[in-house]
Structure formats: structure tokens, C-alpha cells
């Protein structure tokens, strides 16, 4: 997410007062006043999510519906709306089944990433021809403008302003949420179900941004506090701020948009080629396809990699990466201390041929070279739910 200049006043989350009552330390983020931490502190909040469950208010993120202008509910309507969106994303959307979610990226004509997003094919035949999108807060207006401009001929984009988004993440998340909605217990990872809770038709998605099992719950903004309080009343649940959200996703090797991925980097360079569908690699037909397919064939000139400082000093965003002979070969895009990993961790871009795991490099920290190794990610094993056979 980008740190945009504050020209307009900060916006408040629907749960603003609730965060304040919980002792949340509020900071400006992506145009909103958001809790960066609660009295527990970043380190303990982080560990709490890895061991139990944490509740995140991510209502700043953009929720929207992309709907066919004509033919909603008809046979083939999903394929039509999916084909339209596929001109801007490299993922396989046409074969996305109702109730399933795909992670993808919005592309510009140079193959650069304008944002990363979650795309859900909603349930119910009468919803055929609609897609539910969740995008990053800092760029949501420009995402929506891009979608409208490029797809406006065949589809309408409706921003869902009246919704909030809560995330419940951690190994105990499923057990806790199943107390409210029993069906969530066996939901596959990256699937969505609907449930009437607190007088709102909520959309519950099994996904998240921590590397743990968990859920994101889209609910009417005016019902959010009832849900948040219900979840927090479980002793296993603690409220978690942006600070721990960042260290959790960093350990999980997940990109922070605007930092680890930008309009100048392609999904191949960002090392998220899993987001490029098999059929799409053969057919192309998405923005920037020429460059992206060429990079898939021949390799990219630089790559997002994991970086493990060998000492104790964290390497922050912007830290220069040098080869052992002192040449500049890249830059750290996210870095800090990994509480579960138990040491400093970072990710960044390095030029070929220095991208291989195990390569020794230097990080220039406060003017001095600190030894580090290129490594695989994640730093902490992902703990996503796998259905029992």
C-alpha cells in the first residue's frame, strides 16, 4: 500500500470508537485513521495470531461488485464477466467456480502491477455475471477508475461503501467462527460462503494475510461492532493492529502492495507466477501479456527474493543490496524483525544472476556492509487449512 500525501481529511473506520475504547494507538494509513497496535504491543499481538487467533479491522480495503451490463443470471454470464476481467488480470477467472476465490493482480499495459486483489465468484445462479472484488485501500479509487474505464462498455462497477471487513486469523479461528456459523469448519481454503449473522448477509471467505488459517468477513458496516465484540468475547481472540499485520505477512512471504510490488514490477519479477493461469500463459490476452509471457519464457532481469540478514540488525525498506564485490544489485522492499522467526527478515529485488537461494550478499545498513543470504520464502511455514480427505 502506498503512503499517500494527506490532502483530504482522514477517514474513520466504522469501528473507530471501538478501537479507541480498546486502547488502540491510531495512526494515519492509506487515508484512514487506523489502529497500529493495542496495549498488548506488536510482538505479543504477532505471537497471539500465530498461537491462537487475532481480530483485524480491514474495513479500509475496497469492496466492489463488477457486474455485466446485460444478461445477469443467464447461462454463460460468468464466462462473459470473467473474460472481461481477464483482459486486466492474468489469472484463470473463467473456470473459477461459484463460491471460490482467486488471488490476482490488476495489470497495466507494460505488465506492471497496479494492485493485487481477491476475486470471488459469488454463489447462486442469479448472481452469474457478477464478481466480488476486494482491493487495497491506498489505491482503491484508481483501481475502480481503471476497471470502469477499461471494462465500462460491458460491465458496471459498484463500490460497496456500506460494508466493513473483519479478519479473524490464527489456528483457533475456525473453531471460534464455527460457534457462530458451523459450516465454516470444513470450508476449503480460498472459498466463500454466505451466512445471516447479526441481521446481515455476511460473506465469509477463508483467506487472509498472515500465513495462518483464517477468514475475512464482509458484513454491513452497522453490524460490524456486534460481530467484532462477539469474536473478541472469546478469550482466545485479541485485537491486532497494523504493526503485527505487517510482521505476520512479512514472515509469510506475502507482498505489501506499493512496496514489494508496484506499477513498475511485473508479476514474474514479483515472483508470484502462481497467479498466472495455465491457459492464460498459452493464450495471453491480458494487459502487458507480451512482456509477461516473454519473461516467463526467458526469465526476468530481477526477482523478488527472501533475504536473511546474518546478524541481528533488521534491514528496512530502501536498504541497498550489494554483491560481495561491492556492486549494487538490488534493494530491500520490506524488512524488519520476525517475532516468530526470531530474527530479522526481509524481502527485496535483486538482479540476475544473484537471485539463487543461498547467495551471499551485503546489506548496507547505516553505511556499513552487513552480511546476508538470499533465501526462500516463507520465513515461517504457512498454516493454511487443508480439507481432510
Amino acid at each position: 500500500m502506498t503512503d499517500q500525501a494527506q490532502t483530504s481529511p482522514l477517514r474513520f473506520l466504522p469501528l473507530h470508537e471501538w478501537h479507541m475504547r480498546l486502547g488502540g494507538k491510531m495512526v494515519p494509513f492509506a487515508g484512514y485513521e487506523m489502529p497500529v497496535q493495542y496495549p498488548l504491543g506488536v510482538m505479543k499481538e504477532h505471537t497471539h495470531v500465530r498461537e491462537k487467533a487475532g481480530l483485524f479491522d480491514v474495513s479500509h480495503m475496497g469492496q466492489a461488485w463488477l457486474s455485466l451490463k446485460e444478461g445477469i443470471g443467464e447461462d454463460g454470464a460468468h464466462e462473459k464477466i470473467a473474460a472481461a476481467l481477464e483482459t486486466l488480470v492474468p489469472g484463470e477467472i473463467q473456470k473459477l467456480k461459484p463460491g471460490r476465490i482467486r488471488y490476482s493482480v490488476l495489470l497495466n499495459d507494460q505488465g506492471g502491477v497496479e494492485d493485487d486483489l481477491m476475486i470471488t465468484n459469488p454463489l447462486g445462479d442469479d448472481n452469474r455475471g457478477r464478481l466480488f472484488l476486494v482491493v487495497n485501500a491506498a489505491v482503491k479509487e484508481q483501481d475502480f477508475a481503471l476497471l470502469q474505464a477499461k471494462l465500462g462498455g460491458v460491465a458496471d462497477l459498484t463500490v460497496w461503501e456500506s460494508r466493513a471487513l473483519l479478519a479473524l486469523q490464527g489456528p483457533q479461528a475456525a473453531k471460534i467462527l464455527a460457534g457462530l456459523v458451523p459450516d465454516v469448519a470444513n470450508m476449503p481454503f480460498m472459498s466463500m460462503l454466505e451466512a445471516d449473522i447479526f441481521d446481515s448477509k455476511a460473506m465469509i471467505s477463508r483467506c487472509g494475510y498472515t500465513g495462518e488459517d483464517g477468514f475475512e468477513i464482509s458484513i454491513a458496516a452497522n453490524k460490524t461492532e456486534a460481530l467484532a465484540q462477539y469474536l473478541l468475547d472469546h478469550e482466545e481472540v485479541a485485537p491486532i493492529g497494523l504493526g503485527a499485520r505487517d510482521s505476520l505477512r512479512l514472515e509469510a512471504g506475502l507482498c505489501l502492495y506499493g512496496h514489494d510490488m508496484t506499477p513498475e514490477t511485473t508479476p514474474v519479477e514479483a515472483n508470484i507466477t502462481f497467479a498466472i493461469g495455465k491457459r492464460r500463459r498459452q493464450e495471453g490476452g491480458f494487459a502487458g501479456a507480451e512482456k509477461i509471457l516473454q519473461q516467463l519464457r526467458d526469465g526476468a532481469p530481477k526477482l523478488r527474493v527472501g533475504i536473511k540478514p546474518q546478524g541481528r540488525a533488521p534491514a528496512r525498506e530502501g536498504t541497498e543490496i550489494q554483491s560481495l564485490d561491492g556492486q549494487t544489485i538490488g534493494m530491500v522492499t520490506s524488512g524488519g524483525f520476525g517475532p516468530t522467526f526470531g530474527g530479522p527478515v526481509a524481502m527485496g529485488y535483486v538482479d540476475e544472476p544473484h537471485t539463487e537461494s543461498g547467495t551471499d550478499v551485503y546489506l548496507i545498513i547505516r553505511g556499513k556492509p552487513a552480511p546476508a543470504k538470499i533465501c526462500d520464502m516463507p520465513f515461517v511455514a504457512q498454516n493454511y487449512y487443508r480439507a481432510k480427505k
Binding site: 504491543g41 533488521p314 528496512r316 524488519g336
Partner: protein, 121 residues
């Protein structure tokens, strides 16, 4: 022994011409969980306001400035090995360095406890 405080949230305890220096409880709370500390080597000299040490929390890195001029005679390896000590006891076991003071008059210009309390209020 008297303790005084800088605007950059360091405390200085002076005994003879030896000053013990650390960051205040308020600073430690604002930083959050400390995960890394870098301290200067013994024998190094600093003028008041120079970058002297580095303290990093999960969130960010911060410089610690010399609140008083002098030469480093000791540094606290305990907090280098276990940075969490800075949060546990910032104005005691979590001290940073001891300095042989070269300009004692600087000490008198620092805030006393009452003034520092007002400063952070």
C-alpha cells in the same frame, strides 16, 4: 546521584564525572518491543546531540543521541544480547552506556524530572 532528561527522551544519571545514559520509560513505551540495539565501542567520543546508538523496535529504527558530551567508558552488553530488557527496565537494567563527561555544564541544561514530566504530558 541526580537524573536529568533530554528532549530526545534520554535519561542521564551523573555520579562524579561519570554519566549513565539510557532511554526513558516514555520513549520505551512509544517505541514498543525493542528487537535490536547497537551501542558504540568504548573509547569513542561524542559531542552532545551526535548519533550515539541505534535502537530498533518491530516497527522502526530510531537513533539515540548523546545527551551530553564525553567519552564512552562502558556499554551494556545485556541489552545487546537481550533487547527486550530495554522495555522491561528502561531506567535501570536497560541502561545503554556510561560516559566520562567532558562538559559537565551541559548536564545542568537538561530537564529535571518535573520538567520532563511536563514535557511529555
Amino acid at each position: 546521584m541526580t537524573t536529568r532528561y533530554s528532549k530526545d527522551h534520554e535519561w542521564v544519571s551523573l555520579e562524579g564525572d561519570i554519566a549513565s545514559i539510557g532511554i526513558t520509560k516514555h520513549a520505551a513505551e512509544q517505541l514498543g518491543d525493542v528487537v535490536f540495539v547497537e551501542l558504540p565501542d568504548g573509547g569513542k567520543s561524542f559531542a552532545q546531540g551526535d548519533d550515539m546508538a541505534v535502537v530498533e523496535s518491530v516497527k522502526a529504527a530510531s537513533d539515540v543521541y548523546a545527551p551530553i558530551s564525553g567519552e564512552i567508558i562502558d556499554s551494556n552488553q545485556v541489552i545487546v544480547d537481550d533487547p527486550a530488557k530495554v522495555n522491561e527496565d528502561p531506567e535501570g537494567a536497560g541502561w545503554f552506556v556510561k560516559i566520562k563527561v567532558s562538559k559537565p555544564e551541559e548536564f545542568d541544561e537538561l530537564m529535571d524530572e518535573a520538567a520532563y514530566k511536563d514535557f511529555i504530558a
